[in-house]
């Protein structure tokens, strides 16, 4: 997030898109509802009529994969009605004309047709957003899990910059991070092209810095992304994988493809707290300590580095994840002396500029929000305050492109995926809580009543859902919260797994994110 969670209450307009906040970030979801009660206006754009839609001043039930067209349409109206922040555009940004030129053709009528919404609603939303003193955009995977995911983020960033809604309290472009420490994993260089602190592996001076810090020669070539790893494994160009705390057999697109790739490996190590679907395929499985069994930190969605503390002992012989790597490094001939989570954080702060001022004493109370470059720096509540990281904010004119996966006569419905309140990711943790399984026992497919009637489907029927990748059976949930022509399946369950149907073939060219939110499917009563 460019801004902080507590700023939800400081905005006079919230634009929530591609985020089912009350189910996936429930505590922030309740803050949003509170903000609306206290007078903030709410715009929701989502293919599903989520709980927040009921609280919205404008709800746009957009067709999956059309967010760029909507953002362009909102900007079209804002410019047409002179609601842009001319001062901000002039002083803080560049290349505005590029966007101005492109959004010209995105009239509300044209956008209404692409997104399958009402043109007047596009105008109304644009006015609410454009007239706001402090408008904040909140988004999640509904924006990013598309073949145009990165461009979707760019287009909503255009919208924020055009209206001067960045770099101030209660504004911003705010991705809600879905996992407890996805921010920390990215910050620590859990990405193939960067070291900790997003320092590119391909820049010689940076590689040199890490070679000095770690005392070994390092590869100057960017590594493989997760989807590329799987493709390389299929071709047997990848021989060995080490997987920690991940379950790609359920979480990744096109399960059949992933299974084949993993089975092709010569050697697989999985380190986890349970024998997951992925661990079952491993050559060696290592037992790890869970969050309550170790010291360390998680970094939340607002970049706050916060402590976790050891409350209980790990079960049996399970070890800390970091401890296992230290053991293996020493056995492989790399002398690693780090002996505790706190010592590791000391090393992190030395090589990661954003973490320069972070240590366990300083974060003991309320954590610290990076960037926090020095020991006297108080952390950063919102980004881009005085200037953008690159100096001037760069506008990028983005045209709408249809999703890579298209419907046809054989696969006429768009399937979109997501999560539900009562389960979490691949259920490794939530599946062990009886109460949650009582409330949300099995996978389901949301189908519009009109579609259901055409297909002679009743609520509770078992439905065969087929895509170009595979086929599953799930229970029908007939509901008018989903539009005709669209169906929704949560991806949590290994039984009736949505990811058997999704595609990993077409990736976003920038971030390599798969197009998980759009798959063409056929449905019929099983």
């Amino acid at each position: 997030m460019t801004n902080s969670v507590s700023e939800v209450s400081k905005s006079d307009v919230l634009f929530v898109t591609g985020s089912n906040t009350t189910e996936n970030h429930p505590v922030i979801g309740s803050m949003m509802k509170r903000a609306v009660q206290d007078g903030a206006k709410l715009i929701v754009a989502d293919p599903r009529e989520i709980e927040l839609a009921k609280y919205a001043d404008v709800y746009l039930q957009i067709k999956p994969g059309t967010s760029i067209a909507l953002a362009n349409g909102l900007m079209h109206v804002i410019l047409e009605e002179g609601l842009e922040d001319k001062d901000f555009i002039e002083k803080r940004t560049e290349d505005f004309d590029e966007v101005k030129e492109i959004v010209k053709e995105y009239t509300p009528e044209k956008v209404a047709e692409i997104c399958d919404v009402n043109a007047e609603d596009v105008r109304k939303a644009a006015r609410i957003f454009g007239e706001a003193e402090r408008a904040a955009i909140y988004y999640c995977m509904g924006i990013t899990q598309h073949s145009t995911g990165t461009e979707s983020v760019m287009s909503i960033s255009n919208l924020a910059m055009m209206t001067g809604n960045i770099g101030r309290e209660g504004t911003g472009v705010n991705p809600l991070r879905g996992q407890n420490n996805v921010q920390g994993a990215c910050d620590m260089g859990g990405l193939p092209n960067v070291y900790p602190g997003y320092q590119p592996v391909t820049v010689p001076e940076i590689a040199k810095k890490f070679e000095d810090a770690w005392g070994v020669e390092l590869s100057k070539e960017a590594g493989l992304t997760l989807p590329e790893m799987m493709d390389n494994a299929l071709r047997k160009d990848l021989k060995a994988m080490y997987i920690m705390g991940e379950n790609p057999m359920v979480s990744d697109p096109d399960t059949a493809h992933i299974k084949k790739a993993i089975e092709n490996l010569e050697f697989l190590v999985v380190q986890d707290i349970f024998l997951t679907e992925t661990a079952e395929l491993a050559d060696v499985v290592l037992p790890a300590a869970a969050f309550a069994e170790k010291d360390g930190t998680f970094v939340n969605t607002e970049r706050r580095v916060q402590r976790i503390r050891k409350a209980i002992n790990p079960p049996g012989e399970a070890k800390y994840d970091w401890e296992i790597f230290v053991d293996l490094m020493n056995r492989l001939g790399y002398e690693e002396k780090l002996q505790s989570a706190e010592e590791i954080m000391e090393e992190i702060s030395k090589v990661t500029p954003q973490y320069g001022g972070i240590d366990y004493q300083r974060i003991d109370g309320n954590g610290l929000q990076w960037p926090c470059p020095t020991k006297t720096h108080e952390g950063t509540k919102f980004l881009h305050g005085e200037k953008f990281a690159r100096g001037l904010g760069l506008f990028k004119g983005i045209h709408y492109k249809p999703s890579a996966e298209v419907t046809d006569d054989e696969y006429p419905f768009i399937m979109t995926t997501g999560r539900v309140l009562y389960q979490y990711h691949t259920r490794t943790m939530t599946g062990k809580t009886e109460g949650l399984n009582n409330l949300m026992p099995e996978s389901f497919i949301e189908i519009n009543p009109v579609t259901a009637e055409q297909k002679n489907i009743s609520d509770g029927d078992m439905i065969k859902v087929a895509s170009r990748r595979g086929e599953i059976k799930v229970k029908a949930k007939v509901t008018d919260t989903i539009a005709e022509g669209v169906v929704f399946i949560p991806f949590h369950w290994a039984e009736g797994a949505a990811n058997i149907l999704t595609s990993g073939a077409v990736l976003d060219p920038y971030s390599k994110i798969p197009e998980l939110k759009v798959s063409a499917v056929a449905i019929e009563k099983a």
Binding site: H25, V27, S30, R177, Q179, N180, N181, V182, G184, A185, M188, G190, W214, S219, E221, A222, G223, N232, A240, M241, Y242, M244, G245, E246, D252, F274, A279, A282, D283, V284, L286, A288, F291, K294, G296, T297, F298, E302, R304, I308, K310, A311, I312, P315, G316, W322, F325, D327, M329, L332, I344, G367, L421, Y422, Y424, M429, T430, G435, K512, P514
Partner: protein
Amino acid sequence: MVTVTINGQKVEVAPETTVLEAAEKIGVKIPTFCHDPRLKPHGSCRICVVEVKGGGNLPTACVTPVWEGMEVETESHDVVVARKEILDLILADHPLECLTCERAGSCTLQDLCYQYEIEETSFDGERTNYPIDESNDFYYSDQNKCIKCGKCVMVCDQLQQTNAIGFIGRGFETHVGTPFELGLEHSTCVSCGNCVSVCPVDSLGPKKKVKYRSWEVDKVRTTCSYCGVGCQMDLLVKDNRVVEVQPAEGVNNRMLCVKGKFAFDFLSHPDRLKKPLVRKNGRLQEATWDEAYDVITGKIKEIKEAHGPSVFAGLTSARVSTEDNYMMQKFMRAAIGTNSVDHCARL
């Protein structure tokens, strides 16, 4: 700023400050049942009454703003008499089951009855007899113990914004319930448990898998391990087992969701991996750490010798700690020699 005198001690505070807040500032504790700084002030329980010099009645400290020259006594004779009366009235319809009550030791009513020496009620009247609502998977509602402070209703309405529960009936009949008395199971309740966390007595309580007394547990402050909000919470630990989770102050404003509050069973689940497993004859079998490490390092050396470091890849995790992530990428980059390390940020 205005100057107020509380129990003879002077304190300077901002004009909008309440007597309760001013007292807190100088460490004077005024008892409360219904007060929560996150809620709109309502002053319904009356236990925080204080005496103000020159005033006729006893105002409630939680809603009364200070004024210049105000003189307050928080434990005067009249105040204590009033508090005793309030406790006496509450006990008139509250079962004295402290011996077996789950909240013994962490119950505000018990603490105040101890402080003001109220052993039992002096009233002899009708008592409520509600069936306990156990229909929610994670908590129960025992209206026979409710003291009508209203905190649960207000948290559900003002903070959680779910409005699953409300006050039903009037006078003696007043109790907390769901629309049409259909029970929690059939309400809009999302099982966040934020009502349970604020109940000062045992009217709303978590269904415990392990019995424990409040004085038997250690509290450990940590960060929730589910979504990216980073809610702060306390793990209550008894005999090396997490037995309850309570929300703490932080980004979450002392709120949690159903997963953070109630879904910690996985920690002590029998299926947790406890020993390394090594595949032998096609089957994963228990092994020692030394054996597992030998297989891993042997294979890494063998494959690296034959194909170089570029045929290795690692998936680090959005679920483990920052420190674990740092060590994983350092292991891949410094010890194996490849930048092929990624994780499920995109999923």
